[in-house]
């Protein structure tokens, strides 16, 4: 292209840096969050002519303003974390599963089907009903999740089919299936299924969602141990680093891909089971509510570490909830919460650059030319 013999010497260049120690990395991330907060406050101030400090106050109160809100925050955090656990093992293997939305939804559909068709059948069992019904719900849910996750994995293992696109399509098939069954079986024809709490998970004390939250926490620890300290977890990270290395040291890559996605699907099964059986007691096409996509960012930001994901999912749930609160407090159109979420995500995602690369300014620029 360039035919003249001119040495191009840019002002600066970018080099990859060694992994940063914990504290500086945390500092960069915190700076990104602060920058995101400043920009979002600016946007709100421009659109609503409010004092920025009021904006922050409203944002904070959105999550911590009352015990109900704190409770909701914990619940949303737990569910987002649970869906993030679905995508994490696959991501660690560089298998871009963006179908968590569908995998969780189809599991929810299996759960709700058990509640709908079997719930009243088992009424004769009386007090013992949950001991029979709940394992059936969980089993059906996990099987459905595994089915939805393993199909793309098999195609990937056998024919190297692009998994991003396959899993994406599976989302919409799951959504349409839910819409179909709702239209078919809801007698009123409204397509809205009445909640069936009588067939749901038992309640600990009087705290409705505590059991679900505890299950998610336990699951997080299990996934962490599995990925970090088991042989299979090690195989996953080797395949993720380099398929060729994995083949060379005798790992059966196809088997690992299919097995890992089966595990992902099983986690999706638990997530769908909790969402439907433990929390909503019904299903709609928006039950998962985009968590399948947000989960991708949660997992990626946490570098696929399940324990760090607690922090990243808290961050995202807090920001989303805060953005909603701002829009209702200051009478701005609700769409502003999507805009703010987007801005915040860009900042948090963008700061990864500064964690992985550093900019080196070329000091003796003039002399070299």
């Amino acid at each position: 292209m360039a035919r003249e013999k001119k040495v191009h010497n840019p002002l600066f260049h970018v080099v990859k840096r060694e992994p940063l120690p914990f504290l500086p990395a945390l500092g960069i991330r915190a700076a990104a969050v602060v920058a995101a907060l400043i920009v979002s406050a600016l946007v709100i101030t421009v659109l609503s002519q409010q004092n920025p400090l009021e904006v922050y106050k409203s944002m904070f109160e959105g999550s911590f303003g009352s015990s109900v809100r704190i409770w909701n925050l914990a619940l949303n955090l737990a569910m987002l974390l649970c869906v993030s656990l679905v995508v994490t093992p696959a991501f660690k293997m560089k298998f871009w599963n963006i179908g968590a939305e569908g995998q969780v939804l189809i599991s929810g559909l299996a759960t709700v089907a058990c509640m709908f068709f079997l719930g009243d059948q088992f009424a004769f069992l009386g007090d013992k009903k949950p001991y029979v019904l709940i394992p059936i719900m969980l089993g059906a849910s996990i099987l459905a999740g595994i089915l939805w996750a393993v199909l793309p994995a098999i195609a990937k293992a056998l024919w190297n089919t692009n998994e991003t696109l396959f899993t994406l399509m599976m989302n919409y098939i799951a959504i349409q299936l839910v819409a179909y069954f709702l239209k078919k079986y809801v007698k009123s024809g409204s397509g809205v299924l009445e909640p069936m709490p009588q067939h749901g998970l038992p309640v600990i004390g009087d705290m409705d969602y505590l059991l679900s939250i505890l299950i998610v926490l336990a699951l997080t620890v299990i996934v962490y141990v599995y990925l970090k300290h088991s042989k299979q977890g090690y195989e996953i990270s080797v395949v993720g680093e380099s398929v060729n290395t994995a083949k060379y040291i005798g790992i059966n890559v196809k088997k690992v891909i299919i097995r890992t996605l089966a595990i992902s699907g099983a986690i999706a099964g638990v997530a769908g089971f909790l969402l439907v059986g433990g929390i909503n007691h019904t299903i709609s096409t928006t039950t998962v509510g985009g968590r399948g996509f947000t989960a991708i960012m949660v997992s990626w930001l946490a570098k696929f570490n399940p324990l760090t994901m607690i922090i990243t999912s808290f961050l995202i749930v807090f920001m989303e909830r805060g953005a909603e609160q701002i829009s209702s407090d200051f009478n701005v159109d609700p769409s502003i919460s999507d805009i703010l979420t987007g801005i915040i995500l860009f900042f948090i995602i963008g700061c990864e650059f500064f964690l992985q690369y550093k900019i080196v300014f070329n000091k003796n620029r003039k002399e070299e030319v």
Partner: protein, 315 residues
Amino acid sequence: MLSFLVSAIRLGMTFLLGSTGETITEKAGHLNLGTPGVMCVGAACGCFVEDLYLSQTGLYADPVIAVLLPVAAAFIGSAVMGLLFSFMTVTLKVNQNVTGLALTTFGVGVSDYIISQTGLAFQRGSKFFNASFSFAEDLGWFGELFLSHGFLIYLAIFIALLTTFVFNKTKIGLHLRAVGENPATADAAGINVSAYRYAATCIGCGISGLGGLCFIMNYLNGNWEYCIDAIGWLAIALVIFTVWKPSIAILGSIVFGGLYIANTYITGFTIQDNELFKMLPYIVTIIVLLFTSIRDSKKNQPPQSLGITYFREER
């Protein structure tokens, strides 16, 4: 039957614009999952400017400006989204899937906000968009099928053909494909990888954005609906369905449009069957995806470095 085909074409061209834009982006190696958001922004920018223009001019709006101004606005608005995507993925080198998904969230928010400022009715503007040849009516079914459409429909086909030509017959197209297949080799050959990726993504997003505008103005006759993002995901599916070839996409998009609306034209189905029908485009896409990967023919594969960020020192 005729009205079914006409609707299928109009909806199809929405998909065609969306997928041609995405194809250009993907040929440069960018898997932009932000396309649904980009199409929302394109539609909203176009509608907003149309609304502004018509309210300024009052009754005597110039029919040419009333079309070109919103088209330009939609293109620019969406191209800015593409710029954002490229900045994140090329300059900051962050993951494309994550950036794309964030872009979709952001784009849906931006478009909803813009529309909350204008209202949902653009019927007056839509008349300009659907204005077609006056002699079309005299030609019976032929005229209605091929000549009754507005400017954007023909623009969509033109862009698809032009894109095919550029891909296959020009040096720019060759370079672009090289960047998408193997950026390291392209870089070694002296092609500016970053510049190509930036340009392809911005132009691609601009074209995708026109798809959003086409959906509102030509297909829905100016009635805003909050489902453009669903259309956007289908546009991404169409890219695979047509194996990264905009020329095939001209027909493929009409098939998609037909599949999407078939349920409202075929009688004898219940409401629940309609929901199953809406699954068809996705199932067909999966089948095509499987089929192309099983056949493993070199011609019909995704660009080799699709979704992979290029960093010169890392090869």
